[in-house]
């Protein structure tokens, strides 16, 4: 095909250098053409609308959007809003604990499953299964389990420990930790799958060499295997962080915002103020703050990781 085309080109224009045919041009440009629409759509619908939300956060929009610039008044009223600070604190607690517990549990389960046990495939499926549930189902099921009158507390009391209490769900101070429990239960299996794949990709010869040197298994794990899982840690962190920040349906199903608004998160705050309470400007300001938080964490991390990759 190529030679025929260039022969044609050669026949058409008697020039010294061979001219590129239309087919060549198309073939070179094909990837750009295919990705073009997707890129354009992402540019408009993701970044364009982020900018639109940012603009709305500087206006006085209430029930419907308005576009006159109104300064920083929405941010001032956001930072003076008690419920916002409860939501931010909850995000820090929930996000931190959720990511830490998922990674710790995920790594532990992956290491245990990696020991060439018999029913590995079966156990792997069981641990991964919770991820297949939607957050609404998880939230509702855990709401019943953690309900003092119906679930775990009642079960243990009926087993004979009549003084046992586990009323975190209805306790304003502890309700956010129930969200951590339900979220970690759902996502640990997924992190386990990531780590398992990473573990399977480690070169056996390094481990054998370390064993020859006389290192014990825990030492091998701590000094060789875990550090070489660095990219997996990074991916797991990004995915878990985005799940944590996006958490809306889990909170709504499990606690509905908690007793009062004690388990509110920025996502539920934004929905309540942006849509239910006809305060779109304030909701937009809270959305921009959420994005800034994500950017502050993710951008330096990505920069350092990509720089490391380029160097090494």
């Amino acid at each position: 095909m190529q030679s025929f085309a260039s022969a044609q080109a050669g026949a058409a224009a008697p020039a010294a250098t061979p001219r590129r045919s239309l087919l060549d041009v198309v073939e070179l440009a094909l990837p750009k053409l295919v990705l073009g629409p997707t890129l354009l759509i992402s540019l408009i619908f993701v970044y364009g609308f982020i900018l639109w939300t940012g603009w709305l956060s500087f206006t006085e929009s209430r029930m419907l959007p308005r576009y006159e610039f109104a300064g920083l008044l929405q941010y001032i009223s956001l930072f003076g809003n008690e419920r916002w600070w409860v939501a931010v604190r909850n995000l820090a607690v929930f996000g931190g604990l959720f990511i830490f517990i998922c990674m710790a549990f995920g790594l532990l389960m992956a290491i245990l499953l990696d020991q060439r046990i018999r029913a590995e495939g079966f156990l792997r499926s069981i641990y991964l299964y919770p991820m297949a549930l939607s957050f609404i189902v998880t939230g509702t099921a855990w709401k019943w389990i953690l309900n003092p009158g119906l679930g775990f507390e009642r079960l243990v009391q009926q087993l004979g420990f009549s003084g046992f209490t586990f009323d975190w769900l209805v306790n304003p101070q502890m309700s956010i930790y129930t969200v951590v429990i339900a979220g970690a239960w759902q996502s640990s299996g997924f992190v386990m799958a990531l780590f398992l794949a990473g573990l399977r990709g480690i070169d056996e010869s390094i481990i054998k060499a370390a064993q020859v040197d006389g290192a014990s298994m825990p030492r091998i794990y701590w000094s060789i295997i875990v550090p070489s899982l660095r990219p997996v840690f990074f991916s797991a962190f990004i995915i878990l962080a985005h799940i944590a920040i996006k958490s809306f349906d889990l909170v709504m199903a499990l606690t509905g915002g908690g007793p009062g608004f004690s388990s509110d998160l920025p996502a539920t705050f934004m929905y309540a103020f942006g849509f239910t309470r006809n305060q779109i400007g304030l909701g937009a300001a809270s959305a921009v703050m959420m994005m800034m938080t994500v950017a502050a964490v993710v951008v330096p991390l990505m920069y350092s990781e990509l720089r490391r990759e380029r160097r090494g």
């Binding site: 509905g256 239910t276 309470r277």
Partner: protein, 419 residues
């Protein structure tokens, strides 16, 4: 040659007749946004559809379930912003005025004058339906919010009397708790907390103070000793709520009263539907009385449809037909029989309604005369959504922490300033 001309003639005739018929069938189409998706509610909407179709218009249902209307309102905003509003939408309270201010609603004065709406609705109600003196919305029903639903068996077992004041309430609730039963069935959701608080505040402060505080948002009425006393009384009520109440749905709390596990619930008249569905009869298995201190006062929650400006003449006709049908006696009776509320239109025969509805209807008229007919702020009838949401936060925070009544009153005054 002959065949082709014959075929051409036949095609032309068919096309012409389909066009003619479609023009005939193109009576106006009515697209109505609502969130009445549960059993009794859906039946009521079906009635409106039947009436409208009998008048020759098409009904396009636009039901958006869930959230007590939150999802529907979000959908409505996106429709209006994109320039294609529905014919009518289920919006109530000051939101009607907010929508009217955007300039997207139509003027219903011609329908209103023709059917004498001013004469058929109390002034408190018709003012909510108007913007700058012109009708922009039509009321469908009247719910009463300040009811107390009680199980007389539980009271008899505990040897307690049905309370008519908040002091009597504490005495009765103590007796019920000593008998090992739950005194107040409640669900710890912000709107339910606010519903109880609203009845408490009205009972403690009276209708005149209630209007100054929650309708006029007067700071001196909000941050006042009366407000502190209301919160202190709410604390007392809270003592008699069971500890599993957090995030419980309202109908599960009603079930506690139906099953005799709890003595009373402070809830609007939609709770009656639960009793009826459980085959309980008023007066025998359950009684409906005004909440303590609320005798003679009526807290109303009126569902209404706002009408959006339509472009085509057919749609305008259909919209006018919808507006007038809603206020007609036929629809008002059938709808409210199915839903458990009372007609918004006055002067209707209440013969087919049950005793609680009859009581509700007579109190509606008497409270309008004695100026004790007040809008329910917990159900979006008295103040804009931003202030209402902020006050919800205060009440629910109060019930879930050891906030003092004084701090709560100060926060209420601050909440009223929310924009």
């Amino acid at each position: 040659m002959k065949q082709s001309t014959a075929r051409f003639a036949l095609t032309a005739l068919t096309l012409a007749s389909t066009l003619a018929f479609s023009a005939f069938a193109r009576a106006g189409e009515v697209e109505v946004l609502h969130w009445w998706t549960s059993g009794g509610e859906a039946k009521s909407v079906a009635e409106l559809k039947k009436i409208l179709e009998a008048k020759g218009h098409k009904w396009k249902d636009f039901a958006v379930a869930g959230g007590g209307g939150e999802n529907a309102m979000t959908v409505l905003k996106s429709r209006v912003v994109s320039g294609k509003p529905p014919t009518a939408a289920q919006v109530k309270g000051p939101s009607i005025q907010e929508w009217a201010k955007e300039g997207v609603l139509t003027n219903l004065d011609d329908v209103a004058k023709g059917a004498n709406w001013d004469g058929l609705l109390p002034a408190v109600v018709s003012n909510v339906m108007k913007y700058q003196g012109h009708y922009v919305a039509v009321p469908v029903n009247v719910h009463r919010v300040n009811w107390m639903w009680a199980n007389p068996e539980v009271f008899k077992k505990a040897g307690a009397k049905i309370p008519t004041t908040w002091d009597e309430f504490a005495v009765a609730a103590d007796k019920i708790q000593k008998a090992g039963l739950i005194a107040v069935a409640h669900g710890g959701q912000p709107w339910q907390d606010a519903t109880v608080f609203e009845s408490v505040a009205l009972g403690v402060g009276g209708a005149e103070w209630y209007n100054r505080a929650f309708v006029n948002l007067d700071a001196s009425a909000l941050n006042s000793p009366t407000m502190e006393k209301s919160f202190a009384t709410l604390r007392t009520v809270q003592k008699y709520i069971d500890k599993d109440a957090a995030n419980r749905d309202w109908n599960l709390a009603t079930a506690m009263v139906i099953n005799g596990k709890a003595a009373m619930q402070f809830m609007g008249d939609w709770a009656k539907g639960e009793f009826t569905a459980a085959n309980k009869s008023p007066g025998k298995d359950y009684i409906c009385v005004p909440a303590p201190g609320n005798k003679g006062a009526f807290t109303f929650n009126i569902d209404s449809f706002i009408m959006f400006e339509q472009k085509s003449a057919d749609a305008k006709d259909a919209q006018r037909a919808l507006a007038s049908s809603i206020m007609e006696p036929q629809f008002q009776e059938v709808f409210n029989l199915n839903k458990g509320s009372i007609p918004a239109r006055s002067g209707m025969s209440m013969a087919k309604f049950d005793q609680c509805a009859k009581d509700s209807s007579s109190e509606f008229e008497s409270s309008a005369k004695s100026k004790k007919l007040v809008p329910s702020w917990a159900h979006g009838m008295a103040m804009p959504a931003s202030a209402q949401g902020a006050m919800f936060d205060v009440v629910t925070q109060f019930m879930n922490s050891n906030m003092t009544p004084k701090a709560a009153a100060e926060k209420m005054a601050a909440a009223a300033k929310s924009k």
